[in-house]
């Protein structure tokens, strides 16, 4: 598998775990490792299968604020999405000679229904018609590939975090604007396995200030906030048949699938463990909102 672009800025730092997070680690088996800090809250990882250099540079120009992981072939693309927290995929329909690209896209869309796939290339009417049936999220006809603004818009549309918006909507009326902004900031970083010190740093405060503000804004402690978000995002990823519990657990920083299952059980409780269904995800979001003490002034305003 080809590697990721090294466009993510900032030096690598070793994360310092907060006391709250360390206690959670022992309860949930969370594996704490150092990760690179983020420079942009909206950064998303895009998987791309674009054999032509021209297309690669066009995509590169349009996705400067995101990071890109390059796949060599269709199989590689599947593996990449399975193993990495990919937000969207961009592919050339004719990436592999002799293979029906539309059929590959159909299979991809079945395996990863939550991961939008954008298709680029020479697309005649029939190809466009079939792509719609196959589940492509959008298309870029070859004439538009050099239209940077247009491609940027399509990429932004594909990488919108609908789950983060859903959480934000549920929290409105419970938590104030500043608190919800913090949740959004944390949600944007969860796919990369963010830890409390990095979250604090990204928001320009110390860990202790972050903890104090969470209390003040009616949110769970930063450690618990991240735990809830890992559960919610993990359950969302697990709605995709192409992802395994092991791969999702790994992406979220857990030592094993079993550790992630335990974390879900400890946090949500009940049987059976609500994996791989929308009810489980819905229950997790509801439980998270219920676990937020809330900001009294916001509740009154509601």
């Amino acid at each position: 598998m080809a590697g990721r672009d090294a466009r993510r800025g900032g030096p690598a730092v070793v994360a310092e775990n907060s006391a709250a997070e360390n206690s959670l680690a022992s309860a949930t088996g969370l594996r704490y490792t150092a990760v690179e800090p983020f420079t942009d809250t909206t950064m998303a990882l895009i998987a791309a299968l674009l054999p032509k250099e021209l297309d690669r540079s066009a995509l590169g120009a349009a996705t400067a604020s995101h990071s890109t992981a390059w796949a060599r072939n269709w199989r590689d693309l599947d593996l990449l999405v399975k193993r990495e927290p990919v937000s969207a995929a961009v592919v050339d329909l004719h990436a592999e000679r002799g293979k029906d690209g539309v059929l590959r896209i159909y299979r991809f869309a079945r395996r990863f229904p939550q991961t939008p796939i954008l298709v680029l290339g020479e697309l005649d009417g029939r190809a466009l018609f079939r792509l719609g049936k196959a589940g492509a999220a959008d298309v870029v006809v070859v004439q538009d590939a050099s239209n940077q603004s247009l491609v940027e818009e399509l990429i932004e549309g594909a990488t919108v975090d609908h789950l983060a918006r859903e959480i934000d909507e549920r929290l409105s009326g419970v938590v104030g604007t500043e608190g919800r902004a913090l949740v959004q900031s944390a949600a944007a970083r969860v796919p990369e396995g963010v830890l409390v010190p990095e979250l604090a740093a990204a928001n320009g405060v110390s860990v202790s200030t972050l903890e104090r503000r969470c209390e003040q804004w009616g949110l769970p402690t930063p450690g618990h906030l991240l735990l809830w978000l890992r559960i919610i995002y993990g359950l969302r990823w697990l709605l995709e048949p192409g992802r395994s519990v092991e791969s999702v657990a790994h992406q979220l920083g857990y030592s094993s699938g079993a550790a992630y299952r335990r974390a879900i059980k400890v946090t949500l409780g009940g049987r059976p463990t609500p994996l791989r269904n929308k009810t489980g995800l819905e229950r997790a979001i509801q439980s998270f909102v219920a676990a937020c003490p809330g900001d009294p002034s916001t509740r009154q305003g509601d």
């Binding site: 029906d100 029939r126 466009l128 196959a134 298309v139 004439q143 239209n147």
Partner: protein
């Protein structure tokens, strides 16, 4: 490449589940290898893409340079169509309007392009254009364009026999027309709604809609209002089995409506149905000929041609039926899939009536294939009904007619035949 196309077997997605403007490509279903349709549907799709871009990001938010670049690419592709091509001109107008930033004109341009696509029998492409026009007019607060788009949608759903969707759109259009206080548009929209309600089998609601036609006008002040109301009454009476009353109302409508208009042609089709029920073949044929020769609307013309062939079969006139069947077969490419499927069902019935059982089976098979490919429930039900008849009762009975038409009916039939000679050159 796979040896067989697995994608072709998949159901078409709903509009909300496909990428923007995809619906404009859906007319390709079952005709993916047709190069001309391939090219046209692609162009229709490409023209709509910048409109959807404006809808998604806001009319003032898309960069002018990027938009101009996108429009230039589409324009370059559009130039490959013949200069005299009417659809090309309609599509180019949409692009010009976007380039000049005069967005308030965009819904009307989209509706005009949609009407051209609809006239070619491509109902999904037309639907996408009308829906996009509706979205643009809503976004820009253009009430009159919104009404036009809703009416166009009602018409296109009606053509596909999607009565519930047609009714919803037309009811919304009626409410809009009332709010706008435009009596002419309200009458026309009500008439369209009445037709849909009749087809949907809700005669009570249709009666209610007819009662609304012309409300507030002076009695008989507007002959057209009276004509519209008479046309609606004709359709209702026909649907409820009161043939003589239908013919009387229909003739009254014919006298008041302008010849060559869709309303006039629809009444002629209803009259023809009434005449057939009385066994008055010549009068029915005269109605069909007037529609096929006087009206450019492909939907109405196709319907008239199909029924014209069937009426020959009902009379046991095998040579005339065969001739008309061949003419229809050559015109099939111009029809949308729904109408083509309906045509095969009708021709299967006709072939059965003249004793051509192989022909009947062939038509039924084609209808069945289209029903499967397109998910046409009405056609599938017709196939299921017709198939056992074909196998068990090879000599199907000619539908029973009323053998004793009244003097009034005979008089209307004679006047129609005379009108046909006035309007249509013989031959």
């Amino acid at each position: 490449m796979a040896r067989y196309d697995r994608i072709a077997r998949l159901d078409c997605p709903q509009r909300s589940h496909a990428f923007p403007a995809w619906l404009a490509l859906r007319d390709l279903a079952g005709r993916e290898r047709d190069p001309e349709l391939n090219r046209r549907t692609r162009l229709r799709f490409l023209v709509l893409r910048p409109v959807h871009r404006l809808l998604a990001h806001g009319f003032g938010s898309v960069g002018k340079r990027s938009m101009d670049q996108q429009l230039a690419c589409v324009r370059a592709e559009l130039a490959r169509l013949a200069h005299a091509d009417r659809e090309r001109r309609a599509l180019a107008r949409c692009l010009d309007t976007m380039a000049s930033l005069s967005y308030e004109e965009l819904p009307a341009d989209l509706i005009a392009a949609g009407a051209m696509i609809e006239a070619a029998g491509h109902t999904y492409g037309a639907e996408e254009y009308y829906l996009t026009a509706l979205e643009v007019s809503r976004r820009l607060g253009l009430a009159s364009a919104r009404l036009m788009a809703a009416r166009s949608l009602g018409r296109v759903y009606g053509a596909r026999r999607e009565w519930t969707a047609a009714r919803e759109r037309l009811e919304a259009a009626v409410a809009d027309a009332e709010a706008q206080g435009d009596p002419d548009t309200l009458e026309e929209t009500l008439r369209e709604l009445v037709m849909v309600l009749i087809e949907a089998g809700d005669l009570e609601a249709a009666d209610g809609a007819v009662a609304m036609i012309g409300q507030g006008d002076e009695p008989a002040a507007d002959g057209n209002v009276d004509g519209v109301r008479a046309a609606a009454l004709c359709a209702i009476a026909l649907a409820s089995g009161q043939v003589e009353r239908a013919l009387e109302s229909g003739w009254r409508a014919i006298e008041r409506l302008r010849p060559g208009t869709p309303s006039h042609s629809r009444v002629l089709l209803d009259l023809a149905t009434g005449f057939r029920r009385h066994g008055l073949r010549e009068a029915a044929e005269a109605c069909y000929l007037m529609v096929t020769r006087a009206h450019p609307d492909l939907g109405l013309t196709s319907e008239a041609r199909i029924q014209h062939a069937l009426v020959a079969a009902e009379a046991g006139d095998r040579p005339a039926f065969q001739l008309r069947r061949e003419e229809l077969a050559s015109a099939q490419r111009e029809m949308d899939r729904h109408r083509a499927a309906a045509m095969h069902i009708a021709l299967s019935r006709g072939a059965m009536l003249v004793g051509d059982l192989d022909g009947a089976r062939a038509h039924l098979h084609q209808a069945s294939e289209m029903a499967r490919e397109e998910g046409l429930e009405d056609t599938a039900a017709d196939v299921e009904t017709l198939a056992p008849t074909l196998e068990e009762r090879p000599k199907a009975e000619i539908p029973a007619n009323n053998p004793q038409p009244s003097d009034a009916v005979r008089s209307i039939a004679a006047r129609i035949e005379s009108l046909s000679q006035d309007l249509v050159p013989s031959g």
